[in-house]
Symmetry: C2
Subunit: 168 residues, 2 copies
Amino acid sequence: MDKDVSDEPIGKPEASNGRIPGLGEIGLNNFAPYVMNRIMARWNANLAEDLKVRDMSTIKMRALAVLHVSGSLTINELSVLAVTEQSTMSRTVDALEEQGLILRTPRPDDMRVRDVAITAQGRAVFEDVWPLMYADLQRMLSGISEDEQFAFLATLHKILRNVRRHDI
Amino acid sequence: MDKDVSDEPIGKPEASNGRIPGLGEIGLNNFAPYVMNRIMARWNANLAEDLKVRDMSTIKMRALAVLHVSGSLTINELSVLAVTEQSTMSRTVDALEEQGLILRTPRPDDMRVRDVAITAQGRAVFEDVWPLMYADLQRMLSGISEDEQFAFLATLHKILRNVRRHDI
């Protein structure tokens, strides 16, 4: 892996002649979004493997996790926060409602909008699978000090603000 | 966003009673894989939007990027490095070959294995779209110092090693 690590700073401003560094100069492994894509592909595959034992999909888990900490949300809000396309989230919410894990209620001041909230049973299911996710997180962060974790998160938050378009 | 930021260290070891912190205690925005999922969903959507102008898909771009810096690879190696399922990558390689952007040649010592390599035309296409990706990278990292970028990448590499299973 180290063969791609060069001394070229990733964020180096363009040279005065306007030439931008090539990917070969930066190196694939110094290209942060590439490394993050690889990490998230592994994380999501590992999590799906772990959740299968409990007959739970990653998308259902994400929806329950977000509803567990966020109170009631619209499908649109839920799909953004759970990083899932709205059509997929609609189907997932249907399935979760059928299982009694979430509840949809029309909003009193606008009956066209229905709020999605987690049920007590949904919370119980989430609490049951949460230790699997937490164990995955511990493994992901093993050997990384608390200071390094805090610094890493701070950079992630800056990046999330930077990549946003259209306000989401 | 700050409402989820708690003082609970993410990697805090289990309390002596064996209780693990809940997601509500950690906070969704302190859960690193969650923030990374959100970033990558935005990054990939932004890139797809930018590439559409050049009539190029994200997967084709990834395949060309990896081949541009890696020399010839098998489909399996290419699918791992380009973070794409092997069946999808097979179809992408077919399309790229039809466009004359890559070339498949049987390996001399094992005719069953075919190596995939980028053509001069493929390199030209990659060089043409690369400035779009580089501009996206610059925007992603704006306001983040070189030191912080280096530290961030170092943590990403530790995490990538930690999340690997099955040797990939």
